[in-house]
Symmetry: C2
Subunit: 271 residues, 2 copies
Amino acid sequence: MCQLLGMNCNVPTDICFSFTGFQARGGLTDDHKDGWGITFFEGKGVRQFLDPSPSSHSPIADFVRTYPIKSMNVIAHIRKATQGEIKLENTHPFVREMWGLYWSFAHNGDLKNFSPELDGRYRPVGNTDSETAFCFILQEMQKKFGETKPEDSKLFELIHKLTLELAGFGIFNFLLSNGELMYAHCSTKLASIVRKAPFTVAHLKDREVTVDFSSVTTQNDRVAVIATNPLTENEQWTTHAPGTLLLFKDGEILSEKPTKAGPTPQEICPV
Amino acid sequence: MCQLLGMNCNVPTDICFSFTGFQARGGLTDDHKDGWGITFFEGKGVRQFLDPSPSSHSPIADFVRTYPIKSMNVIAHIRKATQGEIKLENTHPFVREMWGLYWSFAHNGDLKNFSPELDGRYRPVGNTDSETAFCFILQEMQKKFGETKPEDSKLFELIHKLTLELAGFGIFNFLLSNGELMYAHCSTKLASIVRKAPFTVAHLKDREVTVDFSSVTTQNDRVAVIATNPLTENEQWTTHAPGTLLLFKDGEILSEKPTKAGPTPQEICPV
């Protein structure tokens, strides 16, 4: 499968440190070699870097690691293909526009026999279960709320309902953002950390890199980092319970709700 | 206004040489300093690099200039803002999905008092006339043909009709591609060249760079390059007549049709 990395902040922040560790997992410290991608929201705009080659050997990933782009919401993904060939169009995260906002989505998992009825408004370009799931979610959001973005709590309820439905088809860890909110679903594996004052020193697991966050932040900064596996070895990450939908806003968890329907992780993926 | 650069080929080709000259026009040899962007189609996928800073000083543009990405269809744009702030969401080219394909669009010009009725299926994220025009074109394509891509000639007819309509609002040079076809409209200024065997040596206008195409091509390669102003000084570019819609496919002009409706360029922009 794949690995996810997300960031949600209350102030534009670069993701260079976290991405430095994450990049290594695409072919160096782990075997997710089937491409990688990252979406940065800046205001209402998005920048996206995609590459169907392993992140650990990708010149584009080297560029992203060393070029600080400040963003309040970032989604990154390294791929180990289950469905869909290793091609650019199957590389996560995916991006679509809805309600005059860009939405970006990345998935770690595998949905079996998932072929929902799509009315054509949001159609997959590639042939992954993940992009199909993203298009289905957007379609259902549009069906329910029409052409106007609802208030956050109503959208959270719908995304919770859709997550329950989709998780019935298999493993469905995902990150979804519209540049303001970050939805994160722990289907089988997801961890997060909220960094805020007093900031400390962190050391990556995957590379010999240390950062002193107190030297690059202000007292009011709050940065949530979400990852399939914790990225640092000397900080206290929260390992989320399988079957949890989280909503991050301004660098903290705003809502959290169990998603217990569908087979349990043990049933899908016996140890 | 802005400058456009497009490439349409019969074999995946990198755009490094042309982009080297084009990049200089964003703040070095010309004053289009309000951002730049480029879309590469690779198979059905797209890679996009966007930056609201001047291309001549953009590290991302430096990367694109030196990292060869092979593509059959490329659209690039450097911006001199007329409508919409200098922000990422207003940076061309824009990308949307339709009929399971990505479409990308960039515009050089200025549409006055253009506020079409949009039904919400394709909505601008930023606030440029250009993104609005792109959303309108896609909306009308979907209205006319529903959920199925029509044959090329029918689509060309509709895009011609829409171009006539939109050109009535002002200057509307544009490039539009779905990864296979490249539509190019010369409203006031657009040139192109088709490079094929026997290949020769070309020298950029904007930088001291020369390339011998015969050393990097095969006999069957055919590459059309489209630009607001010719990029090389020792080749024979075709300067298209104002009011011409062109369709490029596999590196050559497939269709060409006048677009004479609307005010003439002289009426819009008196010399």
